[in-house]
Symmetry: C2
Subunit: 390 residues, 2 copies
């Protein structure tokens, strides 16, 4: 098993913990947005009033009330479903592990966007898949290339996509391509894993229905998460799938860790019951939009002109492209960290097959406004001072 990639993530997490370094690396939500006052009352109530239930074991698919609440929210988001279509997960990450465990045998082909979410590769790798990648543009995965890839890999088992504000690029798949994707999946008998933890964090433009909303054959598994809209420390995500697949995944969940925390599921359910999570999400959106604009403006002001970047309509990340030959991993180790005290995620690890070295993922969600300006400016000055045209 390839343990290099997780180590790279770990090293970055460690760096992010160094107080002298400004990290744009981790996709952490802004902790100042956690609804702490509301949760304070809820956790106390969850233990004081119903502790004998919330501290006990429960059913492995997750407490029924929370599954109902999620089903109602997903139904409003164009995926008509009910409690038996919902499996509560230890974060959406667990969905990546369980879906791969269910579907992938050694050597089976998984098709991903290029680049794709590193955490998905880490989850899939222990099952020893082969990867086929499909290039992206500003509208997401290129469907003509997907069709060619399917023709070249007739036994491909699974397509993995992050259609909304993709990690790492921030790009969103267009409506037309989502429809085309489902046509291709039906034609080539492909399972689709739609990983959408940032979906509700749209700052601009109109929401595009999930791929799952066009699925008439039960071949799409949708993953959602409370990590970005409530709190990642609760470790709660969910899968939406056909009843049959939900049951199969539920058995794998039972085998993997019995169930999610009854207490945390109760907290999330009470929060949805008592408070207006959509109003809360609106505040998060406004904050992240401001931070995103601040980061992009600061890049525009301070970075050399030959560095381009995406302008995401939601989510946590912008994706920077440096000139050909510029190695973002080496630059971070040799200059960004020691000289500017700034960290980001070098882009190379997001490519499943041929790693490209001239990209970087910057997260604008974690740091406070003034820290974003300070860190990005420091890096911009460093880059400009080292630029050949300077």
């Amino acid at each position: 098993m390839d343990v290099m990639k997780p180590n790279a993530i770990r090293d970055l997490l460690r760096l992010g913990a160094d107080p002298r370094v400004i990290s744009f690396g981790g996709g952490y939500p802004d902790a100042s947005l956690f609804p702490i006052t509301e949760l304070e009352g809820i956790v106390h109530e969850a233990v004081a009033v119903s502790g004998r239930d919330t501290l006990q074991y429960t059913v492995s698919n997750g407490i029924p009330r929370l599954r109902q609440q999620i089903a109602e929210r997903m139904t409003r988001d164009s995926i008509p479903c009910a409690e038996d279509n919902i499996l509560i997960l230890q974060g959406a990450q667990q969905g990546l592990d369980l879906v791969a465990k269910m579907l992938i045998d050694k050597g089976n082909v998984i098709i991903t966007e290029n680049p794709t979410f590193l955490g998905a590769l880490i989850a899939f790798n222990p099952y020893e898949p082969a990867y086929a990648t499909v290039r992206m543009d500003q509208d997401g995965m290129d469907m003509d290339e997907l069709e060619l890839t399917l023709q070249r890999n007739p036994g491909a088992k699974l397509l993995y996509t992050v259609p909304d504000f993709q990690n790492p690029t921030g790009v969103t798949m267009s409506l037309e391509r989502r429809k085309r994707l489902i046509e291709l999946a039906n034609r080539y008998d492909l399972m689709v894993l739609e990983d959408s933890p940032y979906r509700e964090l749209r700052y601009q433009g109109t929401p595009i229905p999930p791929i799952k909303s066009f699925d008439t054959e039960g071949r799409v598994i949708f993953l959602g998460s409370f990590s970005k809209i409530l709190a990642p420390g609760l470790r709660l995500g969910w899968a939406v799938a056909s009843e049959e697949l939900t049951q199969q995944l539920g058995l794998l969940k039972l085998a993997a860790d019995t169930q999610c925390s009854t207490l945390n599921m109760s907290i999330a359910s009470l929060y949805l019951e008592r408070y207006d999570i959509d109003a809360h999400i609106k505040t998060i959106r406004e904050t992240y939009r401001r931070k995103k604009d601040l980061m992009l403006d600061t890049i525009r002001r301070t970075f050399p002109q030959n560095v381009s970047f995406t302008d995401p309509s939601g989510g946590l990340f912008t994706w920077l492209t440096f000139p050909e030959g510029f190695d973002t991993t080496r630059f971070m180790a040799d200059h960004a960290l020691p000289e500017a005290k700034v960290a980001y995620v070098p882009g190379a690890t997001f490519f499943p097959l041929e790693q490209r070295v001239n990209h970087a993922r910057f997260s604008y969600s974690t740091q406070a406004d003034e820290v974003i300006v300070r860190g990005v400016s420091a890096l911009g000055q460093l880059l400009t001072s080292r630029s050949p045209n300077h």
Copy 2:
């Protein structure tokens, strides 16, 4: 993948939820023993005072303070270790999954006690191992038969054992056999998974050091759990292993679900900080001992003489042996449930290879005293009335 066994567990969990049925099936702790008052204050504080940390992501191996606290407790329990030897898990169940994922390729031999913990088989099965089983007596796994089994399976990868108050039999492995086990593991280059979630629930006799305490070659992975000594709804367990194995398992943990709940790890850590968990465990022990005695006394009083049972020195379970030919699965479906409204776990599913039908696992931890007497008596009357000698 064999999905029958998880389904059997699920059906039992469902039955246990039927209010008309008295279930001795699930290994649930007694919820009236949860330290609710103490946890009430702690959860409130964890969110109100340090919510920006406890609701945020943290390092995947688990918060350092909790790992230190567990290392101190394990060191006092004859396993000298430090923070870097501890991985926090989503219950000990997750340790079964991650260890199998790390060590087992399709067809590799796992050696287990016969019978063994069903949840372990469910966790191991997706990795498609072959099983070899070793018979048990009142001192645990038979070491002569283990040696023969190792000779017959020279490539055996992993030995799985529940040495303390085994699930399902309630039997404890003797000191002499633990030492012999390590000698054999060293000689045959075998990894050992020591699963001991009930270890601290000893009611009678002297504690026997863990197998891990005799391990000089880093080949034992020990699993512990807060589920039985604090609260299962927090979903917290831990692995103790060599630094190298802890790191490898930590990477698999990162891939599987990122981390355990930061909030729940903080709750457990604060509880260990503020309260005397050993005093709390003493109360649990006294209660379970009383319930165990009550159940065994009621069986003695009301069951036919030809039903034997183990008298465990700790843990949650007694193991009943009915006459040859008596099928406990069929009896439960046809008589125990409809007529006596009592459930237990039929023993067949605990046998990895050849299922024996004349056993049953009874848990005495979950139900209140009077319910234990009522349920066991009802079953005893039913059995006696159906007994040929009646």
